[in-house]
């Protein structure tokens, strides 16, 4: 069930990419999210949890960036895109989120 991707595919998400979350079940407490996918459980930070929630029905990368900026504000000491891709990369690698493959920057 986990869509195993190689590392290079997980970085460099284009602005018009569509992101979609995948889980078999999840719990939310205090902003954190516990996600079950297959036999694996993942404990997500507040920002990752918000990203997952935003992408259940699919969301564009730029719309997600705007939403996270509204909620959490500018990250400290790093650009929004770098920070966002740091958050998304593990979600993509674990198959908790997929990105429309045709729009991934090579």
């Amino acid at each position: 069930m986990i869509e195993i991707q190689s590392a290079p595919q997980a970085v460099g998400i284009a602005d018009d990419s569509q992101l979609t979350s995948h889980a078999d079940d999840f719990l939310v407490r205090d902003g954190q999210m516990l996600v079950l996918r297959g036999y694996d459980l993942y404990l997500l930070s507040q920002v990752a949890a918000e990203s997952m929630s935003a992408a259940w029905e699919g969301i564009g990368y730029s719309a997600l960036r705007t939403r996270l900026l509204e909620i959490f504000g500018e990250p400290l000491g790093v650009s929004v895109d770098v920070q966002l891709q740091r958050i998304l990369e593990p979600l993509l690698l674990e198959g908790l989120m997929t990105v429309d493959a045709t729009r991934v920057e090579q």
């Binding site: 590392a7 516990l34 036999y39």
Partner: protein, 464 residues
């Protein structure tokens, strides 16, 4: 592979080229499994190469090794590792650490299911992975951080002298024998069919948290084997006749050819009674877990009960002192189980006071199975209910007072998760787990160094 749907336990063996050690290990493992009546639909073993493209034949030295091990020498065409192959795998095994590192660098998501052959042998020796096979990689991974693996199977890629190659393939064969024996004991359906026998079989009926499991004993001395099973499982013997939900055909045969014959006829066959007891404990436990998938929460935990039937579940990876703690507390409180705590979604606990698996000094990986009756452990009262879930954090060799603290719910559930069987099969999955856990006051963590220091703390655990 992490799909919760039933599927074969799928193992992928990865080598650098995919034409040397990996296909040899694949063929030896397949040969051992098929000899023991394990079909590819139950355990599927494949091999692949990390660097070389697929479509190539096995190397001549590897072919010679297959001939010497009397394995399938039929046509072999290599395949290259791919995301699709890894996606299907429940466990990935490499011969060398260098291969494991490169594989994980390229496919980070497989890190937790990828082991070197040496590592997995070491972990299986330490961890009693009494769980469905598809859950083994997670259990072994949870134990990996505390394990120190001294030696590995590294062989310099340019060291292809006949002696070096022979030595390496001998190591591979030993590992494959060890893995096959463990996997066969917990493979679903193996040994549950009835076959003709030339001896007088004896049956032992066991009640494993409400699951009726019949162990049919055969071999050189069925009466002696059955007596040993009855003695070890004395606390779990069925008290009234019931149609078994699962049947295990168990045999001890001293003669190697007899063992091969019996294995090919579907018997789980061992060379000695202690070895048979060691493996049948896992077999019975996993059969019962399989039978209650989706009905009970089954936690790999010790369970001890106070006089009023309140049960404290003590959760920890195998090999970290859980059985020692159960044995120590069991002299003062009712022994419910040392391995599988089975609870329905309303909090009723189904006891499984199985034999305790005790390490034998200087042993061979076979643990002694001792009945709780022989260890002076107390019986719990009737009407058991879950009272507390405690994650154990044992810090050995550091004298300290035990410390009990509550963990926030989600991190607590995440700590428990690697120790729960068939969580995805529960009707409401995480919500069932969370409801039950919150009904007993959430998840607690007990940090301790010595089991005896926990005895006085037990009333506090019950009422934490």
């Amino acid at each position: 592979m992490t799909s919760a749907e039933p599927h074969p336990f799928t193992v992928l063996i990865v080598g650098m080229s995919g034409t040397f050690t990996a296909p040899v290990a694949e063929r030896i493992l397949c040969s051992l499994l098929r000899e023991r009546s394990v079909a590819a639909g139950v355990i599927d073993v494949q091999s692949a190469g990390l660097e070389e493209p697929g479509g190539r034949e096995i190397e001549p030295q590897a072919r010679v090794a297959l001939e010497s091990h009397q394995c399938d020498r039929g046509p072999y065409v290599s395949q290259q590792v791919s995301a699709e192959l890894l996606e299907r795998a429940d466990m990935v095994i490499t011969g060398r650490e260098a291969v494991r590192s490169q594989l994980v660098a390229r496919f980070p998501a497989v890190e937790r299911i990828t082991f070197t052959m040496s590592e997995i042998g070491h972990l299986y020796a330490e961890v009693a992975a009494m769980a469905p096979l598809v859950e083994h990689a997670r259990m072994l991974n949870a134990a990996r951080q505390n394990a120190s693996v001294a030696d590995n199977y590294d062989l310099s890629s340019d060291e292809r002298t006949p002696a070096a190659v022979d030595e390496m393939f001998a190591k591979v064969e030993r590992s494959c024998h060890w893995l096959a024996k463990i996997w066969v004991s917990m493979a679903p359906g193996v040994g549950d069919e009835s076959w003709d026998s030339d001896s007088d079989q004896q049956s032992v009926d066991i009640d494993a948290f409400g699951v009726a499991v019949r162990v049919v004993c055969d071999g050189d001395d069925p009466a002696r084997l059955a007596a040993a099973v009855r003695a070890a499982f004395s606390r779990t013997l069925a008290t009234s006749p019931r149609e078994p939900e699962s049947i295990v055909h168990l045999a001890v045969r001293h003669d190697a050819e007899d063992r091969t014959w019996a294995s090919s006829r579907g018997w789980t066959t061992y060379r000695s009674v202690p070895e048979a007891l060691h493996y049948v404990t896992s077999t019975v436990t996993v059969r019962a877990i399989d039978a209650r998938a989706g009905q009970l929460l089954m936690v790999h935990a010790a369970g001890l009960a106070g006089p009023d039937g309140k049960v404290v579940g003590l959760i920890a990876p195998s090999g970290t002192g859980k059985t020692t703690l159960a044995r120590t507390l069991g002299a003062h409180y009712g022994y419910v189980t040392d391995e599988t705590l089975a609870v329905d979604l309303h909090g009723e606990v189904f006891p499984y006071p199985k034999p305790l698996s005790l390490v034998v000094e200087g042993g061979t990986g076979v643990k002694q199975q001792r009945s709780p009756d022989n260890l002076g452990m107390l019986r719990p009262p009737e009407g058991l209910r879950l009272s507390r879930l405690v994650v154990l954090n044992r810090i050995p060799d550091v004298a300290r007072e035990p410390m009990l603290e509550q963990i926030p719910l989600l991190p607590g559930l995440a700590d428990m998760a690697p120790h729960i069987s068939y969580l995805p099969q529960l009707p409401d999955k995480l919500h069932d787990l969370a409801r039950l856990t919150e009904s007993v006051g959430g998840v607690w963590r007990l940090t301790y160094s010595d089991a005896s220091s926990v005895v006085g703390l037990f009333p506090e655990l019950e009422a934490a």
